[in-house]
Amino acid sequence: MNFKAILRHTDSQPPWIAQTIRVMKIAAIILLTACLQVSANGYSQEITISRNNTSLEKVCRAIEKQSGYVFFFDHHLLDGAPAINIDIKGAPLKEAMDICLKNLPLTYTVVGKNIVIMAKENAADQPEILRQEVSGKVKGEDGGPLPGATVKVKNSTVGTVTQADGSFRLNAPANAVLVISYLGYETLEVTVSNNTPLSIQLKPVVNRSSEVVVIGYGVAKKSDLTGAVSQIRSEDISVQPLTNAMQALAGRAPGVQVMQNNGAPGGKISVRIRGVNSILGSNEPLYVIDGFPFNGSPDFLQPSDIASMEVLKDASSTAIYGSRGANGIVMITTKTGKKKEGTTVDVASSYSIQSVTKKMRLMSPLQYGTLYNEQAKNDNVPLYFTQQQLDEFAKSPGTDWQDLVMHNAPLSNTGVTVSGGGDKTRFSVGAGMYLQDGIVRNSDYKRYSLRGSIEHEISKVFALSYNVALTKIDTRLQNSQLGNRGSDLISAMLMAPPTLSPYLEDGSYRRLTTAYPFISNAIINPMIPIYEVNERLKANRVFSNAALTIKPMEDLSIRISAGINNQDDRRDIYSNIEPSTNSVGKADVNTAQTQSLLNENVINYNKRLGIHAINAMAGFTYQDNVQTVMRGSGIGFLSDVLNTGSLQSAATPGIPNSTYEKWALLSFIGRVNYTLLEKYLFTVSMRRDGSSRYSKDNKWGNFPSAAVAWRMSNEPWIKQSKVISDLKIRSSYGASGSTAINPYQTLNLLTPGMTTFGDAAFITYAPGETLPNTLKWETTYQVDFGVDLGLFRDRFHLTADFYQKRTKNLLNKVQLPSSMGYKNTVRNVGEMQNKGMEFAIDVQAMDNAVKWNIGGNIAFNCNKVLKLYNAQDIYGTNLYTGSLNDYVNLLREGQPFGIFYGYVEKGYSASGNLEYEDLNKDGKISAADKTYIGNPNPDFTYGINSVTTYKGFELTLFIQGSQGNDIFNLNKAATLDLGMGLNLPAEVAENHWTPEHTDAKYPKITRNLAGNMSTRFVENGSYLKLKNIQLAYNLPVERLHTKWFRKAQVYISAQNMITFTKYSWYDPEVNVYGSENSVAQGIDYSTYPVSKSFTVGIRCGF
């Protein structure tokens, strides 16, 4: 009987499941350990045993005790064997086993410290002629050869090890199954089919606790982590076309909230890790690219160049970045070559068609004419339109301004990475091209990038690495300037009357401001910004980093690195000569040059002494940043041909303007990790930062942290568990800071200006709007408690974290009475708290022919403003729509960040006007009647990621959502701004107050509405989005048996295709006033709409 026989046997006989599992267990043991040894030869363990009429199993157990070897066998096999007599003294194991199994239809193999007993193959049954030579090659994931891999014929002792080039050669029966195994890779079985050489590719084992993650100034095994760190791998980053790699963080890492401010190509995104900590300072995380703390958002990186992103969230992980760590850290590691790997080439290319997620349903010409006649009637002014005009309106579909402004736009994305390496040198070179047209006509975003990385071991002591990324970004902007009453492109698109054509009969642009006597004097023809204004932003980015690593002795390494980050931006804006806007040609050129230098010197010491393991790091770093800005402009040109190329030929040259700004940061860092018995982990870290930004006596700040973790799964009582495969609890506490203030903010600098006397210009000097003050560091203290749990050999994995953050000495812009002449001053008063929990679950739900991996994460964060200066409220941006002018967001003690604050609408008056709750009961509606009417902060955010594979097919689903956040939809303000001739949503015409219809959605059509920032504009912003769905097919390139073609995948995918939301405007993913420190969160107003897209693409490896 052989293995196949067992299988046949079990097939026909229930309960087959238990038997299958038994077989699988044996097989798994063999496979897992087969790499160690394939023969028992050479073992000289001496066995002494004497038994009579004893079952084979008992004999085996006795040998097990003496030898320390462990037996594996199928009970059926041994139960069926007769009792044996045995008497040996001091015999080697091999001899003992041979005696035991003599005359039995059994054989054995020693695999490592295991002895596996199997049914003996009847060699006589196997005709010699069917044995053949099998050859092949074993490759790793990236196609590089795997030398030293074990190739064994299943159920036999026949086996070999691959050569340096990964090739092997052995004799095997026809139709034999080869078992290929390699440490750190999943074992693979391949059936020998014919004479062609086999090409075998192994996949690396996904074993969580041995994964390496990047942390501040080093790397750590996941199992050794004491802090809260989430990892996003390159395959998740490149699964969909992204302008900014940071978009890949959305829904992938719990506790990371990614908000797209608007849908413009290259538009800004805001990232918040565990909530908002600062009012004045940036709330964006610090991005550290290949060790370089990067100032700003890393939009220059081609997503396909990124190997991994780690999000450091708790204080013990972030405190090593000291004064810049409070908002969390995103560590970005770009791709590098691999050692001893053949050169590989990866090409990925995709093409997408984008379109607006939905179109707004606006009034028809007839609705427009009728509505404004109704307004005229209600306001006792002569009707605007005659019946004849209305009849004509009824016949016409009108102008669809949305179609004139937006279109379906293409996006193409191509990336090539070449990497490889030898014993001493590794390299990786990548090139990328991302070309996106915006859904608003004449807007685009183009990025071209080249990146290289080289690492070279000069000697055993010295190693050198160098990284460089060059990126060129060229984008044409169509700005949503958040204007009022149609004064900007997007609001004009929505508010331009459907009764008017964009062009006059002579082909010139229609001037909308004079089209009707009652129309808004701000409304523009949307065709003008699209076709007559050209705003281009060109950015060059050079990011380079070199490091010398010295290993003077085992366990000690010194890394000296230097980096330069250079950014050159140039923004050109030219408005054509255009009579309908009275433009005589206007040119603006803004250039900004930013250069940051970094030097880091870090010593690392690693030592293991028995049960103690210690890892210590210390160093000092210096970073500075200089920004110089230069602007020039001119008005009045003879020809549009000049564009921005000849400012000197302007009739009225603008005053040139330049600025200079520098900051420097000097830091000392240190960290000690201590591990006891591989179970108890301790981390202590400290950073001392000196910043040029603070006042003389407050320049230095200390940021300490400590963490402990207990790897419970290494305790013997859990180690035996069949359920728990990994269990760690950890806790940390520490402080990190925020450089909330700008350089020079503590100095009494005067602002230059200009005025005229006679017709000549004269210089003025006066203080700015901020009254200077001495300031201290803003510091965030965070406590974190976390659990990592793996079940069923990590097929189920859970990470849970609970945290509380408290920001003290919150820097705050304090408003001053306007009679002081200063608008505000900055003070160190205030406290804010974020509490929350995060869960991430990964399940390998199916692992058969169909493989299904599903992961989900959810994060709850609760923000509260604890203390403000004199309990003084802080108001968000004043929002001006033409009819409404007030702030909406508020910071108030005891309330979450940026809560909506306004009036409560209670219905309509008898005459159909708006009525608000008189909350203070003083008989009138005033600012004292405002209250909390909404909260832009979500209760929780979540993401679900599912990958299902079957044969060559792979279905990827990525769902992302936010629950419990409100949006203040200020777009609706126009619906109360009647009498300005603005086009409005069709439902205003269909469902407004009339004496007959008092229970209407919109009030009476009159220009005398008492509009206020009220509950009317607050909408539920919760959403669930199918962010990406992808169906990919892996072409069976191995059948081509070409050496150069490693893999090929074709796919179709769709982004943002389905959104479940109650939100009424374009898209709930909007935050128009979003910026690094904006209080005005959750506002939607006249902004570039978000798009959805459909993509086809291919990914190839050679």
């Binding site: 009652f518 004097n521 009579p579 200079y660 020079y744 005025t755 000549a760 000097y765 009475p817």
Partner: protein, 482 residues
């Protein structure tokens, strides 16, 4: 050895770090400034900058005050101004911005006033005239504040960084600004520091205006007489309507009529007068960069316009017919036009003209004597004659008013006020006249048939004043009706 080198490098870095972290901005710090005449003058110049912005005396301040008059109407968001029912939210914000810009200028004046005594390289004469210019501007701005808001917080060089400063009474505010302006009149020279900076005559003209508002007509007459008798100023002669461009036109550099103007210029960029942008209709030909036609009148529907003698050259100079859907007789004001510019207008804002001072004199002399005399009538007639193209200094029976026809004080004052209404049309001065004379309600009722609400007479104390200035109670200290 290697470690030793590293320790050494570290030690060197530590010792040099204080230098590395020192800020060296490429900008000027307040501590080292305001020493030389050039530096102090840069500080003086900064007083003018905030109020020249479009949000205040660059345009919107004038719009606000003109629409209030009996002859003007507002359009769009300015329409509520001639409802005479107080300000709506948009306009409350607008006047709040005006308040902030006036006070920013006052702050800039206070800094100079505070710094001059300690200036290291300033002679006594310069100290006095620079101090006088700063105090002139501060006094002038408080004069604008008190007329629109009544008593206001008095920000001086003493309490610049004090958060909470209460509203002073109207009297105290006037007293404070009188001190400033009197000091200015005593210490300013006849020669302006720069073309457009104040002179002794400027200070006296403002003083005359202030005293008239305080109904102290003897002092008003004396101050106005000081300007007239200085013989530094003259009325510009006009023979056709377009000749008024010699006073108001964008190309006028310096006219003998200029007593105190806020100066604007087409170039360099952002130094122009924005007011014409609000006055004109796009493509009307009077202002190329466009137009908001924010204020307008009606030649037929407005009673004041129907009464305006069409032979008065000022009518023709001031108005043009522009229909935009309301009536066929809608007229827009073209006193401030710049037909040539592509950027912004070159016109100046004539805050005090010699014609104003002449009429101040006529009114206050008559009031001081309790009856008009020939001299007062002659002063009025000089301005009146010019409006009919006659030589200003030559009596002309065809157009002159006769003292015998207006022999009572009331009749004469009414005549002067009406003359000033024509003369100052679109100059943001008439509303203050109506308020000073106490005739707002009556005139608006007569001319527009609207009852003026009391709250319309004063502007509200801005929200971000009482929100952060705890010495001002948002209810108790707010102006009536807000």
């Amino acid at each position: 050895m290697k470690q030793a080198i590293y320790l050494l490098i570290a030690a060197m870095l530590v010792t040099s770090c204080s230098k590395v972290l020192e800020e060296k901005p490429q900008a000027i710090a307040e501590e080292n400034f305001y020493n030389s005449p050039a530096e102090v003058q840069a500080g003086l110049n900064a007083i003018y900058k905030p109020i020249r912005q479009g949000g205040s005396m660059g345009a919107l301040y004038q719009c606000q005050l003109e629409i209030y008059t009996e002859y003007m109407y507002g359009r769009g968001s300015h329409a509520p101004l001639n409802d005479y029912a107080g300000l709506d939210n948009t306009n409350i914000t607008r006047v709040g911005d005006i308040w902030a810009q006036f006070y920013e200028a006052i702050r800039n004046a206070n800094i100079v006033i505070k710094k001059i005594p300690g200036a290291k390289a300033l002679n006594a004469a310069d100290s006095a005239r620079f101090m006088a210019e700063a105090r002139f501007m501060r006094g002038l701005l408080y004069f604008h504040l008190v007329r629109n808001w009544a008593g206001v917080p008095l920000r001086t060089e003493q309490n610049m960084t004090v958060l909470d400063v209460p509203r002073a009474t109207t009297d105290a505010t006037y007293q404070f600004l009188l001190d400033d302006l009197t000091y200015a009149a005593d210490n300013l020279t006849e020669q302006a520091r720069l073309d457009g900076a104040p002179t002794k005559g400027s200070a006296n003209a403002v003083l005359a205006d202030v005293y008239m508002n305080l109904h102290d007509y003897t002092k008003a007459k004396d101050a106005a007489a000081a300007v007239v008798n200085s013989n530094k100023y003259a009325l510009v002669q006009v023979s056709a309507a377009d000749d008024y461009d010699k006073i108001f036109g964008p190309d006028v550099q310096a006219s003998p009529e200029e007593v105190f103007y806020l100066k604007f210029s087409r170039t360099p960029a952002d130094q122009g007068f924005s007011y014409p942008m609000y006055a004109h209709y796009p493509n009307s030909g009077y202002y190329k960069p466009g137009g908001y036609y924010t204020f307008y009148s009606d030649a037929v529907q407005n009673k004041f316009m129907t009464q305006w003698d069409k032979n008065d050259l000022r009518y023709k100079y001031n108005w043009y017919v522009q229909t935009f859907g309301l009536t066929n007789t809608t007229i827009l004001n073209k006193k401030f036009s710049d037909k040539v510019t592509n950027t912004a207008a070159g016109n100046d804002f004539p805050m005090y003209r010699y014609a104003d001072v002449v009429l101040f004199y006529a009114e206050s002399a008559a009031r001081a004597a309790d009856a008009p005399d020939a001299n007062a009538m002659e002063m009025l007639n000089r301005v009146h004659r010019r409006a009919y193209g006659k030589p200003t200094a030559t009596p002309d029976a065809t157009v002159d008013f006769k003292l015998s026809d207006y022999s009572t004080l009331d009749a004469f004052v009414n005549l002067v006020v009406r003359e000033r209404t024509y003369e100052n049309c679109s100059e943001a001065k008439h509303w203050f006249d109506l308020k000073r004379l106490g005739t707002v309600k009556q005139v608006i009722k007569d001319m527009k048939n609207i009852t003026v609400a009391d709250k319309h007479l004063l502007w509200p104390i801005p929200t971000n004043e009482y929100n952060y200035n705890k010495a001002i109670d948002p209810v108790k200290d707010q102006n009536p009706g807000y």
